[in-house]
């Protein structure tokens, strides 16, 4: 066949546009994309804007003090937070505390987690398989589990209620050991060292020994190899672990709340909480905005560094080899170190909490001091909670709320995430995909407590057709969905990318329309990742505190806020019991997830 000579006339601009529109709108993908974009704009962007505008407008109740009308623009709140006489207490001191806790936690977790990661992935330490799961467990437990365990052990006479074990045994721990910076730093380091174990460990495991060998053959010493070859290639994983821990510390509320309050050790998150609790909406908005800004700066720096680091990501080539270094006589001590870390980060806190719930008086190990009445007793001599925790209707109410709210939110965000992934990967309208990806990522930059503040700002009063949602379970669900979207959409996008176009295109060629392809190809293939996409947010939602503590009211108490309330009432045993229940739910949820999806869910938790 000879080619035809004489082509068609070139299409005009209008014709091209019409044709492209036709291609784009042929399938519901784009329409769904636009609907999702509108939904997320409302659930994510609008609350944040509303909150930021609160920071610059006179709030109800402040008219007299500011001498302006409600709603007028003002610098008052910004000045109050950054330059006034109270700015030290409101912002600067909490900022310094936040940063020093974060830096301390990062350094400590790098040291501990880094060592463990290396032991687990590159040496012949005993029981590596078991440890690689066991050492991740701290992250599956809520962070303030550790805080409660710490107070159970180290509480002194600075605060009332039951004394700590140390105090009961006759030692009186000083304040710096019982509360404030030191315990907060240690606890956050223990809680987040799994990030380092996972991210750094994965990078080490993927690291090709041949790269090391080539350098050795060329005459480099072990130290030179470590310095010139291994460290530069490990940098991206270390940076991302550090950034992740920093971002998490920034929004961490529970631990500093439990351990900081007695000595007025405030971090940004607790300062924000106190302002919200005392209805200082304007100041709260400025603080939330600042937390957000720090988050955004951190992520931006991270993105820059990662971009640079990614230039030489060539690891994981086909001939990848992973050789283990023999530890020799250090094999037993190394294993001992891993055991010690497991005991410190899991065994001790859980055991302490559990023992505390079955003892009347702390640290009295006589048989008659042990009792189950805090679990199942009926005649407790207390004012508000007169039955064992398991017999209290409040617990079951809170548990039901937790399951309902978190369950609905997780299922919704899992499905939305897959849908977002689908649209992002498939839509021919590229800007739509970009917008969806970015808007769903936005909550990642906003620590939970600031995000909750944003929701409070938008939904506390009726706006247009939407009634005031504060005090309802709906606001909790919506906030939780929005808060989980970064993880859900990232999982969805990754899953859709991995699926690739081919299976769906094959179905299209075979004659299947859009709906048919969704129901008989895309969703069945993505079943596994959809399950993970629902389960992961569920676990983090069950143990989540910072969103709920701002948005929940007593009638919508969930397990986490309920336990915090019990802490405030000094019902130590009951509070610890509830925390144990949460920890159990989170842990067994994660286990169930691993069984269902046959994957190591712990690795997904790092995302």
């Amino acid at each position: 066949m000879r080619p035809l000579k004489g082509s068609l006339a070139a299409p005009t601009r209008g014709q091209r546009l019409r044709y492209r529109l036709k291609v784009a709108l042929r399938e519901p993908t784009t329409t769904i994309g636009f609907l999702a974009a509108a939904l997320f704009a409302y659930l994510i962007v609008v609350p944040i804007i509303s909150m930021l505008s609160d920071a610059a407008r006179v709030q109800f109740g402040d008219e007299r003090r500011i001498k302006q009308d409600v709603g007028e623009l003002t610098w008052y709140y910004i000045e109050r937070v950054f330059t006034s006489r109270v700015s030290r207490d409101l912002f600067w001191e909490p900022l310094v505390n936040t940063l020093s806790v974060a830096v301390g936690a990062i350094a400590l977790s790098m040291l501990v987690g880094g060592t463990l990661a290396w032991l687990l992935s590159r040496t012949d330490m005993f029981g590596r398989r078991w440890f690689s799961t066991a050492l991740i467990v701290p992250y599956m437990l809520p962070a303030w589990t550790f805080a409660l365990a710490w107070t159970t052990l180290f509480k002194n006479r600075t605060v009332g209620g039951q004394p700590g074990w140390m105090e009961s045994l006759g030692f009186s721990p000083p304040d710096w050991l019982s509360y404030g910076q030191l315990p907060v730093t240690i606890i956050l380091a223990l809680h987040y060292s799994p990030f380092v174990i996972l991210l750094f460990g994965n990078a080490l495991r993927r690291f090709d020994s041949q790269l090391e060998d080539s350098a050795r053959i060329l005459g480099a010493s072990r130290l030179t190899v470590a310095r010139k070859i291994i460290m530069p290639l490990m940098r991206p994983s270390l940076i991302s672990a550090m950034v992740l821990i920093f971002a998490k510390c920034l929004g961490e509320f529970g631990v500093p709340y439990v351990l900081g309050l007695p000595v007025n050790f405030d971090v940004l998150a607790t300062s924000l909480y106190q302002n919200i609790a005392s209805r200082q909406v304007g100041v709260g908005a400025v603080l939330a905005g600042s937390i957000m800004l720090i988050g955004i700066i951190t992520i931006t720096i991270d993105a820059k560094l990662m971009k640079e680091a990614r230039r030489f990501v060539t690891i994981g080539s086909k001939g990848s080899m992973n050789r283990l270094s023999p530890l020799g006589i250090m094999r037993l001590p190394a294993t001992g170190f891993a055991v010690l870390m497991f005991l410190l980060s899991v065994g001790l806190p859980i055991a302490t909490l559990f023992l505390s719930t079955i003892m009347r008086v702390p640290a009295q190990f006589n048989l008659d001091n042990f009792t189950l009445e805090y679990w199942i007793g009926t005649d407790l001599n207390t004012i508000a909670l007169q039955t064992g925790i398991l017999l209290s209707p409040d617990l079951w109410n809170a548990a039901w709320n937790s399951l309902r709210i978190v369950g609905v939110a997780s299922v919704t965000s899992g499905i939305l995430g897959l849908l977002v992934g689908y649209v992002v990967v498939r839509t021919p309208v590229k800007p739509l995909g970009t917008f969806l990806r970015q808007v769903t990522f936005l909550p990642y930059l906003v620590p939970g407590i600031a995000f909750a503040a944003a929701y409070l700002s938008l939904f506390a009063v009726p706006r247009g057709p939407i009634p005031a949602l504060y005090g309802t379970t709906l606001i909790l669900m919506l906030a939780l969905i929005a808060d989980q979207m970064p993880y859900a959409s990232r999982a969805g996008i990754a899953a859709m990318m991995q699926l690739g176009k081919d299976p769906e295109e094959a179905a299209q060629i075979a004659g299947a329309g859009w709906f048919r392809r969704m129901t008989s190809i895309v969703i069945p293939i993505q079943k596994g990742s959809l399950t993970t996409g629902i389960l992961l947010p569920f676990i983090s939602g069950i143990k989540g505190l910072s969103l709920f503590v701002v948005l929940a009211v007593p009638s919508t108490d969930v397990l986490t806020t309920y336990s915090l309330r019990l802490v405030d009432y000094h019902y130590t045993q009951a509070a610890n019991a509830v925390v144990l229940i949460i920890a159990g739910l989170a842990y067994f949820g994660a286990l169930l997830g691993q069984k269902l999806t046959k994957t190591n869910l712990a690795q997904g938790l790092g995302n």
Binding site: M1, L4, Y19, K22, D502, E505, A506, I509, G511
Partner: protein, 376 residues
Amino acid sequence: MPKINLRGVEKNYGANAANAVADLDLEIGDGEFMCLLGPSGCGKTTTLRMIAGLEHLTAGEIRVGPRVVDSVVEGVFVPPEKREMGLVFQSYALWPHLTIERNTDFGLRLRNMPKAEREQRVDKVMKTLGIEKYRDRYPSQLSGGQQQRVALARMLAVNPEVLLLDEPLSNLDAALRLEMRAELKRLHNEFKTTIVFVTHDQWEAMTLATTIAVMSEGQLQQVGTPNDIYDRPANRFVAQFVGNPPINIVELGNAKSEISARAGAFLGERYAELREAGSIGIRPESIRLASEAAEVPEGAFSGQAEVTGILPTGGSWIIELTRAGEKLFMTTHQSPEIEVGEAVAYWAKPKALHVFDTKGDRLEAADRLLRPGKMH
């Protein structure tokens, strides 16, 4: 009547990107086995995907039979699911969650074919491809070759008028590839389907196609039968892309090169019209050896060279000849009775010379002079 007709088809990804496919005009006849051949990135897969409707056009139109399926000017776009074609992907793209049987009858179920008829069709196509014993297995339990057959069966089951194949054999090992090639040829004869086959493997194209379209950098270089493409390459790109070992190219007008000077003199002495030729090509198998200059036949293009390499390839040999730093490669099927280092005379018949102008296009005038007896 042509089955598929592409006119002025153009594709670019983004306004500033180079055209992936530029101003492509191509007819694919009914029942033809058309190979789109070219190096990776030449636009052949994009062309195939545009025919399937998986990629939309930037300009131009595509017809299948009398029906316009894609036209920017007319604003027509028939989605892939309505084009009634078959496409076998390079990755096979079997649905991992469906058994082989369900993979195969997917398209028939979509068409609401009665159960009995459907089963009969599936049985037949499975038997034809020898996969009936795997019907209850999942794709992950099959080998690459078996998966490949399922991918084919899945498309053949709906009996498409046009079957598109995107490098379907590239993931198979050599023996299996040979077997599947024969199978494809047999299927083409049996089903009389129009086939468009994308490949970068010239050997595959030569053995399978009734027509080959060679592409490079988004441009169609030549369309013709396999013999046409090999014997009368339209330009230097086609000449160099098709053939293994590749064709020897001698640039003309290079005063420093002896081979070049000899070739220039050879053409110039005999055919004054060919003085503006830019280069000549000689296929390795057209070069012969003579132990001394006297044995070279009258009127042949010839020269002296040293044997610098003998590479046995099993049943044939590649011989490297060097003259003043320049190399010529030749092949022979007879055991060469020469040694490395020996001086020899090489020669080729005038009709074995491909003459290209300075832009690299074939000089038609040269064919008339050098190949007087041949029909074009």
